[in-house]
């Protein structure tokens, strides 16, 4: 087994781009990329499709990224958006599985819901159904993975304006369920930014 360089240090002295470049010659350098980003990617994938399928998807994400690392922009400090983009492509294929999980979760939690005025999760799920795969991925990267517009643009390889329009469409569909309101990041994020679409 190849031992990989441990990159879990709290202080990043070497950028992801530099590590990617170094890994072309020495694959062990890719280990640091793995250690830096595994938790975030696995957490995101597990929230969406459950831990078992997430393990497959994150494995595939990191192996595809390894095979395609030559195409990575070595000037970038952070590989996370690029890795999220690979994961998004893989997750997109599992929407039916993901939807079944979400539906089961929505039904189970609604049976025990104590607030009669709470928006039914099954309605939110129905709103997501009306979106295209591209729109859903942009929405999930924003609302669940906490990526910025610019990071989503890198992840999905589209202009920022496209991210903006995809998120606007996603928001519009969800808003039909919950009514009008200000567009903000989910309340549990760092709260540094708010966005208007």
């Amino acid at each position: 087994m190849v031992s990989m360089v441990n990159g879990s240090s709290a202080h990043r002295t070497v950028s992801d781009g530099r590590l990617m470049q170094r890994s072309l010659d020495d694959p062990r350098a890719y280990g640091a990329i793995f250690e830096r980003h595994f938790d975030t990617l696995f957490g995101y994938a597990a929230r969406r499709v459950g831990p078992q399928l997430a393990e497959e998807i994150v494995t595939e994400t990191f192996t595809q990224a390894f095979d395609r690392r030559r195409a990575f922009d070595f000037d970038r400090d952070d590989a996370a958006p690029w890795l999220f983009g690979i994961a998004a492509n893989l997750l997109r294929r599992h929407w039916r599985t993901e939807r079944r999980r979400l539906a089961a979760y929505a039904r189970s939690t609604e049976r025990s819901a104590s607030h009669p005025d709470e928006v039914p999760r099954t309605d939110v799920l129905a709103a997501l159904d009306t979106l295209s795969g591209n729109e859903r991925e942009a929405l999930f990267l924003f609302a669940v993975a906490d990526l910025s517009y610019e990071e989503i643009a890198v992840a999905l390889a589209v202009p920022v304006g496209t991210v903006r329009s995809r998120l606007a469409r996603g928001r519009e569909r969800v808003r039909r369920v919950v009514g009008e309101g200000p567009l903000t990041r989910p309340s549990s994020s760092d709260g540094k930014e708010s966005f208007n679409v």
Partner: protein
Amino acid sequence: MSDFDLVRELFPDRGADDGARQRVRAAVAAHAVRRPRRLTRRRLVPAVGTIVAAAAAAIATVALLGGTNATVSASAARVLHQASRAARNEPSVATLAPGQYLYTKSVDAYESTTGGTRRDGTTWEYSVLLPTTREIWLDRNDTGWLHETGGEPVWLSEHDRQTWIAHGRPDLGGGPSDTRLAGAPGAAGQMASLDLPSDPDALYATLKSEAEGNGNGTYQEMFTLVGDALRENYTTPAQRAALYDVAARLPGIELAGRTVDGAGRPALAVGMENGHDQARSVLLFDPTSYALLGEQTTALAGNSGGYPVGTVVGQATYLEQRIVDQVPASVVRAAKH
């Protein structure tokens, strides 16, 4: 609650999973050492062996196919259909039984690049081909051992060699290596090729489904998947025939002409251009028997290294493949677990 809170709360947080981290880490590490897909660069270890030396000589002296002589895909399809017929007519080979290993010996040479930034902010980089003799033993569970022995470096250009010298001739690699290969978690728990359909239509659909959405383009990725399946995996004659039939149907497939493989054997080259990397990847066939001899990647115009069109930037030469009952004890003893 914002619109996006409603979406977010559909996805409850999951706790950390150390077991998953360890399993995924092992699989990614195994992939990094096991899957030299075309156009990837690998760190190889230098040491001299006769076969390796022959391969290096072939790389150095053969002026490879030009990038502009590709003919229409009908010619490529003819070669691939011939290869399919040859594979289908092979005498029945033994089945890979539980407890047995598929042993594959090849000589690989992939581009290895080292670079950095000087104090004045300018960058330096050198690339070299490092041929290595690669012996791999894999069982049906996709686990086994890998033994590699490096060869003499082949510089892609004099500029690369001079850059290396200017940086003090750093060691290009270590000694021979032995590696224990673990199966990939989350996979079916067996060698992926065992499940490949032997019907060309079904195989085409399977590979297309797997390739769709890939950043390299669906058909390019399908061609890569065909190469992956043929490389170090157990396939039946019918599966091999189907793989060639699928390749024959891929838009963009072309007959790139005649060349020689890494061992100096004459070969017909059939493959595809990969515009993303400005390179062409080809499979090499014996012009008479249509047996698969190896694979090669050559630079096209506009390649990032600025190499002459036709320069080999990666190749694998297949020398031997058979089913064995045991892995040499020396390899098992030396393997890093």
